[in-house]
Every structure is written in structure tokens, then in C-alpha cells.
Amino acid sequence: MFIMRSENVVMTNQMTIAKRSQSKEIFIRFLRNKTAVFGLLIALVLVFAALFPQILTSYDPIEQNLMDTYLSPSAEHPFGTDEFGRDVFARVVYGCRVSLKIGLFSVSIACIVGVILGSIAGYYGNIVDNILMRAVDIIMAIPNTMLGISIMAALGQSVNNLIIALSIGTIPAFARLVRVSILSVKEQEYVEAAIATGAGDLRIIIKYILPNCMAPIIVQFTMGIATSIMNATGLSFLGLGVPAPTPEWGAMASSARAYIRDYWWMVTFPGFAIMATAFAFNLFGDGLRDALDPKLKN
């Protein structure tokens, strides 16, 4: 199920040519998938909002304005104001940065740790494999939500702790993915050839084996961002997410839920933001998967 077949890897010159045209092909395939492109565009908008919030809004997301509380959406406040008179649109925009940071960092950490663990387990096998996979099983045996709240309760509330808590639960996915790839590729001739030429273990793993799992890793990474952001909002709902007054969509929606019938905008817009973000990254990830794995297409 992986892009490159063994033939590509052996012939180095032809490999570069083959790779290049393959990348182009993947790119074209991706572009043809309209929904995936749509997802990518939304994701880019979100990244833009995260990087340059000042362009989108002039309000301070933290400054309280106790005279202007609970204003409904208007030209001046497109998403209305919250219980402290803060502009909800501004909080949603700045919340983008918080959520994307949480999503990106937690998945990155999980990816790095997971890939390392999976590589070691898959490559060396035997006892090492057994121990590492049991450790992964343990993490998987604890439901993500409970793992998250336990860790947050232990470490205390902060954005960084939230990132750690979320990353731990995502490690197993990457570890298992890489391990499976390695197991399937390990026996191939070209790997044996590389070992015979005296190449170091690390080199072998990085140069020959990992490239084969790039595709699933990339897809998992993208989807993982969506999942992380969703899990973060779940934790915020339980009161264990980002501490006030940092704008975070889950915390915003959750703290306003008693008002959902009177001041619906305080819950609805952050909720939509979460949905849009997860939706975008999921579409994007799905599109990537389709583009990288031609078998499922016509």
C-alpha cells in the first residue's frame, strides 16, 4: 500500500526521476479532489488567522469591558460579546492560534516519539518489540479522555501540559503504523543488501525504511491534528483545558453553555470554529490519503 516499490529504491538515478514525477502525480491527483482542496484552503485560512490575528480583528481578546456584556452579533461585534464584554470574534480568531498550536505541537511530539518507538520495535524485534508494544498497549487500554484528565490533574493546567497530555494518547497510532511498515519491508532484498554493505542501523532505518511509511505518517499527522484539537476541547469541557483568560474554543463554548439559550453566540461560534478546523484537516488528510494511495481511485 505504499508509494514506492522496491524497484524505485535500488536504481538511484532512475529513482530521482521516478520520485519527481511521482510527487508531481500525487500533487495533481490531490488537486483533482475538490473537497480535499477545499479542506486545504480552509486550513490555510486558519493558519493565516493564527499567524496574523491582528489583521482580522482590532479588538483585544483578553481585555474586559464590563459595560458591554452579552451584546448580540452586530456590525461592530460580528460574533457578539461575551460575559465580560470581550469581542467573541476576536477571541475566536486568537483562539485559532491556541488551538492550532496545541494541535500541531501535540501531534508533532507524538509523531517523533511514535516513529522512534515504532522503528526500534519493528527493526529490532523480539524482546524490544514485545516490551515497547506492551507499553503502547497500556496507553491504548486507557481511554483517551481519562488519560488526558489524569495527566492534566497530575501536571496542572497550562497550554504546555495540555500538549503533553494530548501527545501521549496519540503516540500509539504512530508507533504501530511505523512498526507495521517496518515489519513488512524488513525482509526485502534491498534492505538485506544494505545491511550486507555494512550500513549502520540508523542509516538503514532512515534511508530505506521510513520513506515507505511516509504516506501513512503524513495522513495520520494531518488527521491527528484534527483529533488533537477535538480532544483538547473535550478536556476544556471537563474544566481541565487551557486556563483563563487564554481564548480557547472548547473553553469558550463550555463556559458559556449555561447561556446557550439566551446568548447563543457565545457557544455557537466557537463550536463552529472547532468544527471547521477539524473538518478542514480531516478533508485535507483524506485527500492526501486518496492522492498518495492510487489503488482506491479509478
Binding site: 474544566g239 486556563p243 449555561a258
Partner: protein
């Protein structure tokens, strides 16, 4: 062949799943108890108004136990109110009245003679005697949760004269005793029943003298009560009560809207209008004993300079804080407790003066401010207050990091030290309100003030009516005001959502002492 096997397996799996869920369905759902469905016809001149035999009440959380000796929060007190009585009681005007007592007499500073009413029986038919009172007090003194309240009783020197007469001796004059005995902790239960049921089971049922008794407790969902046939007073008008636990405020309002409940304790500020506009429901609201204050640790180095503490209070715009945090439902206060508590005095208002605050901070050596942790319990109300205070302190350079933890004033980080916190109190007696300033209760201000400790102890020795009491109180308040370790800012009213079809509901400042005996719900 294979084809058949596979689909067979699939259907087998589905069947197993369905079976499991059916089984679970039979055991997992709460059983409907045999509730007497014959509506009573009350002959109060009401033509054909049929009364329901069950009132449904909503509370916000399931009590962990209803053992009076373990009572440490309101959730428990709400339930014990229905099934137990105390020697004294608190009526809806906040006055102390006799409960199980026929009479009492303060013989001297440390001696009080009590006379129980005759003929009071527990829900299991046995008689209430003085022995039970002594047993209960002894248990209170042994329970870590309650011993601090009853530590003044000297059981060793107290005497049981007969089944209905006994004399209690105190280690020192103890003015608050009546009030303490009117709380849920003061509930009287049968020694024999406790010994028969044992520690664990006693807390899940009731053998008390109250108007109702526990008939079923469905964990996580509700407690079902039924009339206590042996009740010593006028039998309560409604036979059964169901108390449901619903955590989400919105959900409680929805229950009222759908008519699934008759009364709801705990209605949020923004739902008041909504409940009033429900056809057939209205709000009962009034002052309560619940007040909010923020506290500064007496042991925190950053707060050692009184100018810092003053600055922190001057930076608060009380009106705005109260309004923003509670949608205008709560009222600002200027004393060291809620006005309803006897002995609370109005203090000079602390102005809102950001400039002066900044000046004081600079004088104290913190022109740039500093960073602290502000602890609150995980309740939306507290968190909202914290956010406003956080924003106001930011104006004078104080960066407050809000830390949410169930016991706001006590964290095991840094060896149990904390810095600032927001607390609420709901004591109805002044000594219990001011107890937070005592050193032996480190969980509040981490107090280490000898003068306060002595004075508060002294306060307890002056019985009500003694002019010394006023003098002592004034001294204490002036001292607190000067020292500025706390800033009480608002009183939160008690709000009930009540069906129009309920008769006999009389507002009570605290639901822990409300009288349910006259409640009737009509169809």
C-alpha cells in the same frame, strides 16, 4: 457452506450483543418503586383539585452520604433536612427555634440543661432518648469532618438524667451552640439503628425523626422518600418525595419546562427570567447566608506589606464585579459576612481607586507588580469572579494565574501554601462565618494571628444579648478592616424554581432548613 457459517457467526454476534443490552436494560435502568397512585382529595375547600402524592425536587449533585456526622457540604444537608431533625431548628426568618426540644435552660456559662419532647419516635418505631443525643455528639467529636464544630462539648462531665432530660457541659462558654445544633450535623439519629446498620450502610439510608424517610436510593439518579409514619409532628401533606440529581443548570430548567419536576433548588441568575416566564412556574428568591470573599494568605511573603493588600482591594470595582459575575443577581456587601447573619455590621466602603492602588504598590516596592496564583473551585460562578478580579488586578500590575481546584484554599504544591483564593461561606452564625480567620483552620487564610485567635475564641463565650458581644465584634471587624486580608464582596441570593401548583411553599434563606411539611402539589 462457508457462506452460511459466516452469516451465522455474524447473526450470532448481533444476537449476543442484543441479548447483553437487553439484560443490561433489565438491570441497568432504575426501578419504579411502588408509589401509591391514589390521589388524595384535600378538603381545603378546593372543589375538585386533586393533589399528587409525589413531589419531584431537583438538586445539583448526589450527596456522597447522608450520615449527619459526615456532613461537610450543602448537597448532604439538603437531604438530611427531610429525614432528620435537630435539637434546634432555623425558621424561614432566620430565627432559632426549638426542634426536638421541649425546653432548654442556660444554667451558667458552661452548663445547659435540655429537655426533649416526649413521645418522639424514629422512623423504625423506636423512641428517641437522651442516650441517642450523647451517642450522636460523641460520633461528631470523632468524625474529622465535624469534630471542630463540636469540640466545645465536654461529654465526660455531661449528665443524662433520664430519657428526656440531660445536661451538657462545655469546655468553655459556647454561645453558638444553638445554631450549630440546628445544622444538618446536629441531626439526631438512633444509636441502635446506627449500630445495627454499620458505618457504610448507615450513610445510604435514614433512621431519623424527620417528616420523611429514605425508601430507595438509585445511585446517580435520585433518592426516593416517603412519609415517616412515626413522625412526631403534623404528618407532611404529601406522601412521597423524589429528589433527582441534575448537574447541568440548563437541564434543570428544561425539567421544569417539561413539567417533569415541581421544585428546583439552584436556579442560575440568567435563568430567573426564563423560569418566571414558564407557564405554571415562578421564582422564589430572597437573601441568603451565602457570601463571597477573596482571601490573601497571611503567610505569603508578597502580601506581608499591608499596603499591598490594601492596593489589591482598592483595585476592585465591586459593583462591576458583582454585576458581571452574576448577571446582576447578587448584591454587593460591605461587611464581613452576609447581612442576614446576626452580628454582621456594615463597614465603611472600600472605594474603587486604581490610582491610589498603583501608588501603594509602588510605595511597597512593587511598582511593576508581581505574579501570583488565584485559586478557585471548579464552578462557573467562581471562575467568572476570578476572571474579573484577574482583569482588575492586571490594571495595577498584578498577574493572577487562575488555578482551578476543588479545594481552592489548599493545594499540596509548595507544601500546602497558597497565595490568593476566592471563597464562599454559608454559615448562619457569626462565629462560624469568622472561623475562616482562625489559625486552626489553615485551609482558609493560613492564619497566624494570635490576637485574632484569642478574640474569636473570646467571642464565643459571650452569649447573645450580652453587650460584650457587640464590643468584641466591633473590635474584630475594625481589626480585619485594618489588616485587610480579606475582601468580602457579594451576597448570593437563594433562588428556587417552583411550580404554581405547589401550595405551602415558604421561602427559606437556606434549603438545608426549609420546611417541606406543608408542600402540596396539585394536578
Amino acid at each position: 457452506m462457508l457462506k452460511v457459517k459466516k452469516s451465522k457467526i455474524i447473526s450470532l454476534v448481533l444476537a449476543v450483543l442484543l441479548m447483553i443490552s437487553a439484560l443490561v436494560g433489565c438491570t441497568g435502568s432504575p426501578e419504579k418503586t411502588e408509589v401509591d397512585n391514589s390521589g388524595q382529595n384535600l378538603s381545603s375547600g378546593a372543589e375538585d383539585k386533586k393533589a399528587k402524592d409525589t413531589i419531584t425536587i431537583l438538586v445539583k449533585a448526589e450527596p456522597t452520604t447522608i450520615d449527619p456526622a459526615q456532613q461537610n457540604n450543602e448537597d448532604i444537608g439538603l437531604i438530611t433536612n427531610f429525614v432528620y431533625d435537630g435539637l434546634f431548628d432555623l425558621n424561614e426568618k432566620g430565627e432559632l427555634v426549638l426542634g426536638l426540644l421541649e425546653d432548654y435552660e442556660i444554667e451558667d456559662d458552661i452548663t445547659v440543661r435540655f429537655k426533649l419532647k416526649e413521645g418522639i419516635k424514629y422512623s423504625d418505631g423506636t423512641d428517641l432518648t437522651s442516650k441517642d443525643v450523647f451517642f450522636d455528639i460523641k460520633r461528631l467529636q470523632e468524625s474529622p469532618v465535624s469534630q471542630s464544630h463540636y469540640r466545645f462539648v465536654d461529654l465526660g462531665n455531661s449528665v443524662i438524667e433520664d430519657d428526656h432530660n440531660f445536661v451538657l457541659k462545655f469546655h468553655q462558654a459556647w454561645a453558638p451552640f444553638q445554631n450549630i445544633m440546628s445544622t444538618g450535623r446536629g441531626s439526631i439519629y438512633s444509636q441502635a439503628a446506627f449500630e445495627a446498620l454499620g458505618d457504610e450502610r448507615f450513610g445510604r439510608t435514614s433512621v431519623g425523626t424527620g417528616p420523611y424517610k429514605v425508601v430507595n436510593w438509585i445511585s446517580g439518579t435520585q433518592i426516593e422518600l416517603t412519609r415517616n409514619e412515626h413522625y412526631w409532628g403534623e404528618p407532611p401533606k404529601t406522601k412521597n418525595i423524589i429528589i433527582k440529581f441534575i448537574g447541568e443548570p440548563t437541564a434543570r430548567v428544561i425539567e421544569l419546562e417539561t413539567g417533569a419536576a415541581d421544585i428546583s433548588y439552584y436556579i442560575e441568575g440568567n435563568d430567573i427570567e426564563r423560569v418566571n416566564s414558564i407557564d405554571g412556574y415562578h421564582i422564589e428568591q430572597g437573601d441568603s447566608y451565602r457570601y463571597f470573599t477573596f482571601l490573601m494568605s497571611m503567610q505569603e511573603p508578597l502580601f506581608q506589606d499591608v499596603r499591598v493588600r490594601e492596593a489589591m482591594t482598592l483595585a476592585i470595582n465591586k459593583e462591576a464585579l458583582v454585576r458581571a459575575a452574576t448577571n446582576g443577581v447578587a448584591t454587593p456587601i460591605n461587611g464581613y459576612g452576609p447581612p442576614l447573619v446576626e452580628g454582621v455590621m456594615e463597614m465603611p466602603e472600600i472605594p474603587y481607586d486604581v490610582e491610589k492602588a498603583k501608588q501603594l504598590m509602588a510605595e511597597a516596592g512593587y511598582p511593576q507588580g508581581f505574579e501570583i496564583e488565584l485559586h478557585v473551585v471548579p464552578s462557573t460562578l467562581f471562575q467568572r469572579q476570578a476572571e474579573v478580579i484577574q482583569s482588575m488586578w492586571a490594571e495595577i500590575g498584578i498577574k493572577a494565574n487562575i488555578v482551578v481546584s476543588p479545594l481552592a484554599t489548599y493545594e499540596a504544591q509548595n507544601g500546602g501554601k497558597f497565595q490568593a483564593s476566592i471563597r464562599d461561606g454559608n454559615a448562619s452564625e457569626i462565629s462560624n462565618v469568622l472561623i475562616i480567620y482562625e489559625s486552626s483552620f489553615g485551609s482558609r487564610l493560613q492564619g497566624n494571628d494570635d490576637w485574632l485567635d484569642e478574640k474569636l475564641l473570646e467571642l464565643r463565650t459571650y452569649y447573645y444579648g450580652d453587650p460584650q458581644r457587640e464590643i468584641a465584634l466591633k473590635e474584630i471587624y475594625d481589626y480585619l478592616h485594618e489588616k485587610r486580608y480579606s475582601y468580602p464582596f457579594m451576597m448570593m441570593p437563594t433562588v428556587y424554581g417552583v411550580s404554581d401548583k405547589v401550595e405551602g411553599f415558604i421561602f427559606h434563606p437556606t434549603a438545608m432548613n426549609i420546611n417541606p411539611n406543608n408542600w402540596v402539589v396539585y394536578e
